[in-house]
């Protein structure tokens, strides 16, 4: 199974995603330069964290014009699994692959810390190996992770079960105190209507080994391998 990791010039979690998929998970992984136009036959696409083009304008705003994005768009439309992590999530929002927008954290500061997220749905390629309501300890590291969407959009997301992860307390309660950045309804991650494109602010690639604090994130990557293996999320020609 092959993971494609898209490298924008300011990506800085690209090496981490590569390490997690290739060395920890033991799968094939390849960097795809943002100026390329092909995903090199990958089964799963990861848009990694970072500051794609410096993001002085608005996070991810320039990245959606990168030459690789039409290929990502086609891959997503064909049903292939796409995971946007942190800045990758922001790029997915800007590219219109997921609804909503990111605001600055409620604290108006960058925040790097471990948080707990609750798995809301297991019928996506990145949560298929999780159990419903499972709690995962995964770090966040962002200044603009305060998810926002118009109330009717939020209602629609809820109705269609597109909220995949919510910030929760250690005991699983979804409360304002558990919300690190002010995201509406504690949303930490969501998927598209077809459920193959997932965006999330926490960094699963930073939580794949106990030596660095948590291995909970590995479950998400294993889910991708499982889902593709099962044929549930593969690109249809």
């Amino acid at each position: 199974m092959k993971f494609a990791i898209v490298v924008f010039p300011g990506s800085n979690c690209d090496h981490d995603a590569y390490h997690a998929t290739k060395h920890v998970l033991g799968q094939e992984a390849a960097f795809v330069w943002h100026k390329d136009t092909s995903l090199q036959g990958a089964d799963v696409v990861i848009l990694p964290g970072g500051f794609a083009h410096g993001d002085y304008l608005r996070t991810g705003a320039v990245a959606r014009f990168s030459p690789i994005m039409p290929a990502v768009q086609r891959f997503a439309e064909a049903g292939g699994p796409v995971l946007g992590i942190c800045n990758g999530f922001q790029v997915l929002l800007e590219a219109g692959l997921l609804p909503g927008a990111m605001l600055r954290n409620r604290s108006i500061r960058f925040q790097c810390e471990h948080v707990v997220v609750k798995v809301e749905c297991t019928d996506t390629p990145f949560t298929s190996r999780c159990s419903p309501d499972q709690l995962l300890r995964i770090p966040i590291a962002h200044g603009e992770g305060n998810y926002y969407a118009e109330p009717e959009i939020v209602e629609q997301l809820e109705a269609r079960r597109q909220v995949i992860f919510r910030y929760a307390t250690a005991s699983g309660a979804v409360t304002p105190e558990a919300n690190p950045n002010g995201s509406v309804r504690n949303i930490a991650g969501l998927c598209n209507e077809r459920r193959n494109v997932v965006g999330m602010m926490p960094h699963p690639e930073r939580a794949c080994e106990l030596a660095i604090g948590s291995a909970d994130g590995l479950l998400l990557l294993e889910s991708a391998v499982h889902s593709v293996g099962q044929g549930t999320f593969v690109t249809t020609p």
Binding site: P9, N12, D16, G54, C112
Partner: protein, 744 residues
């Protein structure tokens, strides 16, 4: 144009220095040449006051691959790899414009590391501010922290540790010292040399603007009320540009098409050009009209002296130019050929073909003035080293809480939460206490990193205080299981033209040298920051030591937090009656007085060996040194980390001051002490190991419960609920800002 005395003075050059220039050139300099001399001979670039002292530091050792003199030092860490590291200050800019000053400080040291062909993997910082109750200080503090985060987070290099101190003397002169470490192949380290006549000299990176002109000169003068007017001398950082440069340069370095490379830091194009030429024994000729410029109408003088950030100078092998250009194009960077290497040993600067400066490269580097500045032991010392009468001490629990609330001791989570400390997925020990620990991917090893310094100790005894800084940094890496293998220093002092300051500096350097020799820590580079004064008042002399420790097995490390209920707590080292220079005296009595703790370097060396051995064999489950706030604070920190309480009974100490027996034991800062925890069944093993090493050891208590209890000689003196104490400690710094935020 005639160079008048006034012009010379405005360039910060002394009359005899100008005379030296006239002799070297054999003629009057052009204005551009005068500007070039003034920045290269500034204290910041030339180390003219400090060089004679720095030469006494130990800089060699079996592991040293690169000592001082290059962009950064390098030590061998096995597996064919080198750790490339250095610490540098950005104090003056950070006062004038805290966010950009700190951000560009981070950017500058990162460039020094990747310039050597190393991929940067860790940042640390050592910061000093005035008291946080002052609004100006809060603004500076918040700006510096945001700036460090803004740059490091964006470029994707984790900030894995550091330390912060507070004292009134830093109010108008904060210290921002940034340490960066990178990993390179030991045999592929790249240097800042220009050689090979005809080889092309390339400029790459951001365009040159008028920002930062005379930054190096500014950093070589005291502050006064007019400093704010120098704001244009501070540069603005662009971490995205630096990220492009970092990736592109590392890619170019893989090709072996480079002869040498250097970043344009202080003194910009001037410094990089003449230093590369001097190191390679060559000349360099450039034409400034080819330099990409951000503003119209810039003069050669301005182009040569600009300190615009994120710029590099490269010398490329003949015939390999297009290969190099292609890589930079891939990263949307435009590498521009601005000149070539020559054989005449001259730095020749042209503008549209016309020569505007022609100076021997060595005149600017090795030819800079060298001063043996006069030194006098400061008069304040006699009085300061005497401990005055302190009255009756406050109750131990009150002192304990006041110390936990003091910003120097309180949790720095509010700060490091703003730094991405996990990117690159190597961080094995999160920031918070002691050393930062990062693994080296592709090997079984890890590195423990610590930066430390204590201005109070150095103020009271520069020689001993500087030794204590070396010892503390080394002890911190050893507590994690790291064998200290190299060091770097950042020496922050006042105006060296005052004999008292020069004496402090010289004594501190002697102390560092003696400690590094005894602990076998070669100094591979560093930075000197002088003129840290505001309106004539100097900062506490603050040498900061960065020490790198090598951990052979990344799975055998220790952090400071207790691990399991029931584990035994042992105190390594000896507690003496030593309150001099302590946080206790500062916080409770507002005093920086007394004699700093004694340091026996042989015993410290034995302690370091014991720690490395104990951690690497899995015997030591946690290790935390007793520093600011003494034994009581150290024990509390071990508890806070994992939320496990502790009970301890420590031996009594005879004290000189009547009534201070408990205070001295609980809050005194005797050196070479570490609290370790081991499984209850392995206490005897630890005691034997310590005895063999010649390190005093006492089993003082056990981990468990939800309180912090300390008895002295069997008598209970402190009994605090863990949760409440933890809350005081963890919220203290944030409270200065959240309350302010609420009122807008």
């Amino acid at each position: 144009m005639t160079i008048t005395d006034d012009i010379v003075k405005r360039h910060g050059l002394a009359p005899d220095e100008y005379q030296r220039i006239l002799e070297m050139l054999g003629r009057e300099p052009t204005l551009t040449e005068l500007g070039i001399f003034s920045v290269m001979w500034s204290e910041h670039c030339s180390y003219k006051s400090s060089r004679v002292h720095l030469k006494t530091l130990p800089t060699t050792g079996a592991r040293v691959i690169q000592g001082p003199g290059e962009n950064a030092g390098a030590v061998d860490i096995g597996d064919g790899l080198a750790a490339v590291f250095k610490i540098e200050s950005h104090n003056h800019p950070s006062f004038i414009e805290p966010y950009q000053g700190a951000a560009t400080g981070v950017g500058g040291i990162i460039r020094d590391i990747f310039t050597m062909g190393a991929r940067p993997i860790a940042l640390l910082n050592s910061l000093r501010f005035g008291p946080l109750d002052e609004p100006l200080v809060r603004r500076t503090f918040a700006g510096v922290v945001a700036g460090i985060g803004g740059y490091g987070n964006s470029i994707g290099i984790p900030t894995v540790g550091g330390e912060i101190g507070f004292d009134e003397s830093y109010t108008g002169n904060p210290l921002v010292n940034v340490f960066c470490l990178g990993i390179a192949k030991a045999d592929e380290i790249i240097k800042g040399v220009a050689s090979g006549a005809g080889n092309a000299v390339y400029y790459v990176g951001a365009k040159t603007g008028r920002d930062g002109i005379h930054g190096a000169t500014m950093a070589s003068a005291e502050f006064d009320e007019k400093s704010a007017e120098k704001r244009p001398a501070v540069q603005v950082g662009d971490p995205f540009m630096e990220k492009l440069l970092l990736e592109a340069c590392l890619e170019v370095m893989k090709t072996d098409a480079l002869v040498g490379i250097q970043d344009m830091g202080a003194a910009g194009l001037t410094c990089s050009t003449c230093e590369m030429g001097a190191r390679g024994g060559a000349g360099v000729e450039i034409d400034v009209s080819h330099v990409p410029q951000r503003e119209a109408g810039m003069t050669p003088y301005e182009i040569m002296l600009s300190e615009s950030q994120e710029r590099m100078l490269l010398v490329v092998k003949q015939g390999r130019e297009s290969e190099v250009e292609r890589i930079f194009e891939k990263w949307d960077l435009h590498a521009v050929r601005i000149g070539e290497v020559t054989t005449d040993g001259l730095m020749r600067v042209k503008s549209d073909g016309e020569v505007v400066a022609e100076i021997r490269t060595e005149s600017l580097t090795d030819g800079a003035p060298l001063y043996h500045r006069p030194m006098t032991e400061p008069a304040y010392l006699t009085e300061a080293r005497r401990l005055p009468s302190l009255g009756a001490p406050r109750p131990a629990d009150e002192v304990f809480r006041r110390l936990l609330l003091s910003p120097g001791i309180a949790s720095k989570r509010w700060v490091y939460r703003q730094y991405d400390h996990m990117v690159r997925t190597n961080t094995l020990v999160l920031p918070g206490m002691g050393a930062g620990v990062v693994r080296v991917k592709g090997t079984s090893r890890a590195l423990a990193l610590s930066v430390d310094g204590n201005g109070r100790f150095v103020y009271l005894d520069p020689y001993a205080g500087a030794q204590l800084a070396v010892a503390e940094a080394a002890r911190n890496v050893a507590c994690a299981g790291g064998q200290p293998i190299g060091g770097t220093n950042c020496l922050n002092f006042g105006n060296p033209e005052r004999p008292e300051i020069m004496w402090q500096f010289a004594r501190a350097v002697e102390g560092i040298g003696a400690a590094c020799r005894a602990l076998d820590i070669p100094i591979t580079g560093g930075n000197v920051s002088l003129y840290n004064e505001t309106d004539g008042t100097p900062i506490l002399p603050t040498p900061v030591l960065g020490v790198v420790g090598l951990i052979e097995d990344a799975t055998m490390i220790a952090s400071g937090g207790f691990r399991s209920e029931g584990d035994s707590i042992l105190l390594l080292g000896e507690t003496l009656d030593e309150l001099g220079g302590s946080a206790y005296l500062k916080v409770m009595h507002g005093l920086v007085r007394g004699v700093p703790p004694r340091l026996d370097l042989q015993r410290e060396a034995a302690l370091l060996r014991l720690l490395v051995k104990g951690v690497s064999c899995g015997l030591v489950r946690s290790a935390h040194d007793c520093a600011e706030g003494g034994l009581a604070v150290a024990l509390a920190e071990c508890c806070f980390e994992t939320g496990l309480g502790a009970e301890a009974d420590v031996p009594r100490v005879e004290t000189a001051l009547p009534g201070f027996r408990d205070v001295s034991v609980l809050f005194g800062e005797s050196a070479s002490r570490v609290l370790v925890s081991v499984s209850a069944g392995r206490v005897a093993e630890m005691e034997t190991l310590a005895a063999e090493a010649g390190v005093p050891v006492a089993t003082v208590g056990r981990v468990g419960g939800d309180r912090i209890r300390i008895a002295v000689g069997g008598r209970a003196v402190l009994d605090e609920p863990l949760a409440a104490a933890e809350r005081l400690w963890s919220d203290a710094i944030g409270n200065y800002f959240e309350s302010q935020h609420a009122t807008g």
